[in-house]
Amino acid sequence: MWKIAGIELESRLFLGTAQYRSPELLRQAIAASKTQVVTVSLRRQSKALHGAENFWSIIQQSGVHILPNTAGCRSVKEAVSTAQMARQVFNTNWIKLEVIGNEHTLQPDPFGLVEAARILCGEGFSVFPYTNDDPVVAERLLASGCRILMPWGAPIGSGRGLQNEYALQILRDQFPHTPLIVDAGIGAPSHAARAMELGYDGVLLNTAVARSEDPPRMAKAFANAVTAGRLAFEAGLIQAKQKAEASTPVLGTPFWQQDNPGSPL
């Protein structure tokens, strides 16, 4: 059990709902992932709120918490009004805040992000900001009222994994009590496991499951990887070393083998 934005959760995997080949595959993937939080994009469907009952009901019937997002918003104004609309539609003050600074790389715009976060936190939103891995931006977001940070692993949809583990580690060390979730860029379960090993509180991903050949199976793979990574973090990873260290004590090994460094221990 862990807690984020006032809610207790078992699962540390957050799942996106876009790009599935069918709503049925989405439903199966949600079930297989055992996720308890899914993120939904309002922007493209804003006009569809009354026409997409069938689609929404699949998500609602899966019994998960909905984290609306402002995907694709490029200005503070656009992101803020999308968040306000989402609050009404989904009856939640949660918002995954995206302010995109570059259409091609989908990099977050840190300046717009901080400003939008300040406005939304002031309005009582629980803001989950999609940010880069810069600790200064992270500090500003926290100063704006955010209680959660979601740094990227790599550009959205790229599936490249954690591009700057060092920066992610610094964030973790610098903000030990802030829930940190790696959002974007996860391509393989091993990437998700690695983020969890670093001590991150969760991972959020979409494309890696939705566009895989078998989304429900991949969702299960990610669920296992996130659990494994978290367990590893809690268990305490050993430090990597420069040299081999025998797991079998040398004591009791015949002396002629000790003399020969090339022989198997």
């Binding site: 080949r21 069918s22 709503p23 049925e24 595959l25 439903r27 493209r44 469907q45 006009k47 569809a48 709120l49 009354h50 026409g51 997409a52 009952e53 069938n54 689609f55 009901s57 699949i58 019937q61 091609h104 949809g157 566009r211 050949e213």
Partner: protein
């Protein structure tokens, strides 16, 4: 005396059902709410017969139905009294160099699901030998030599004209208020039949059916000479340009999860038409003849279905694949009607979709 059937809905699947049943001795009444059925999903389609390429986001069953349907279209078109534009000159799929992985993934998925699929990777001159006028920024693509396209509107018109001679009654412009086992109720009459067949798509009483919005454009582009359908892969949705009759092209189509018929948005306009413009600069001077919004009928798994429910035969959920699969699906629905069951490999089509609303 002949058995009597009512087919409700004169889109591509309803029209083919009426045609097929009439030819095998049924006395058929065909109903549609429109005087000229031009407001339905089939009329709005592009007529792209991408039997292999559809595997990008469809299941292998679609591929199988589509392959059989392509062969059947040839004989259907031949049997019609007037010419309908239908060609099997292949189709092309292009990708921006930035999105090359998408083409790789697409090719990989198709190869995995159908190792013998007719598909070639083309580069540079080999690509331009197929379609000389496409923009030189595209250096790589996939060619599907056996795919084709059909003028969906001409086909529907021709089919309807022939059906007027074949069926017992054409009830166009007639709203069906209610249908049930053996009866069809309109504002003015309740008629009885041996079999009622519901082909109304989104408006059908089939459980779990939803509408998926799609938008497309019809343009006239005299400066463009592209002779086969060209798709441009895009992270969100593939955009295609499908040649119709002389100088006319269909540019489609968005796919948005909502049942909404309001006019095409600016965003969709920009996405679709800029993609066409990238494929061929000549689209810059094209005239926009039409912008079309429709909703495709789909079950939750986006697979078509034919099944009995309370004595009514349903054929529905053709989604983006109406023209792609309807000839074979018609055969299968008739098989279900005549024998009460389908061959084992087609059983998934008979499964009633679960209701989710």
């Amino acid at each position: 005396m002949n058995k009597r059937a009512a087919v409700v809905g004169a889109g591509v699947i309803g029209s083919l059902m009426a045609w097929r049943l009439s030819k095998s001795g049924w006395s058929v009444d065909l109903f549609d709410q429109d005087e000229q059925p031009t407001r339905n999903c089939s009329f709005a389609a592009a007529g792209l017969l991408d039997s292999v390429g559809a595997l990008e986001d469809a299941e292998p069953l679609i591929n199988e139905l589509a392959g059989a349907s392509l062969e059947m279209w040839a004989s259907i078109v031949k049997a019609l009294p007037e010419p309908v534009f239908f060609q099997r000159r292949g189709t092309l799929a292009l990708v921006h160099s930035n999105d090359m992985e998408q083409l790789d993934q697409w090719e990989h998925r198709i190869r995995r699901l159908n190792p013998t699929a007719a598909m070639e990777r083309l580069r540079g001159d080999a690509l331009f030998a197929i379609e000389p006028e496409i923009d030189r920024r595209f250096q790589e693509g996939l060619y599907f030599p056996l795919e084709g396209n059909i003028d969906n509107r001409a086909l529907l018109r021709a089919l309807h004209r022939q059906l007027r001679h074949l069926v017992a009654g054409m009830h166009f412009g007639t709203h069906v208020e209610n249908l049930s086992i053996g009866t069809v109720q309109t504002a003015t009459a309740t008629r009885t039949y041996d079999q009622v067949i519901d082909c109304r798509g989104v408006r059908a009483s089939a459980p779990g059916i939803r509408g998926v919005r799609g938008e497309l454009f019809v343009v006239r582009a005299p400066d463009v000479a592209i002779s086969r359908p060209v798709r441009l892969l895009h992270p969100k949705q593939p955009v295609y340009v499908v040649p119709r009759s002389k100088d006319t092209y269909v540019v489609g189509a968005t796919q948005i999860e909502c049942e909404d018929y309001s006019p095409v948005t600016v965003r969709s306009t920009l996405e679709l038409l800029s993609a066409a413009y990238v494929i061929h600069g000549g689209f810059g001077e094209a005239e926009v003849l039409e912008s079309v919004t429709q909703c495709r009928p789909a079950f939750n798994d986006n697979q078509p279905r034919t099944f009995f429910r309370d004595g009514v035969l349903h054929v529905n959920g053709l989604f983006r694949h109406g023209f792609l699969v309807s000839p074979k699906l018609t055969e299968l629905a008739c098989e279900l009607l005549e024998h009460g069951t389908l061959a084992p490999q087609y059983k998934p089509l008979e499964t009633e979709a679960t209701r989710c609303a």
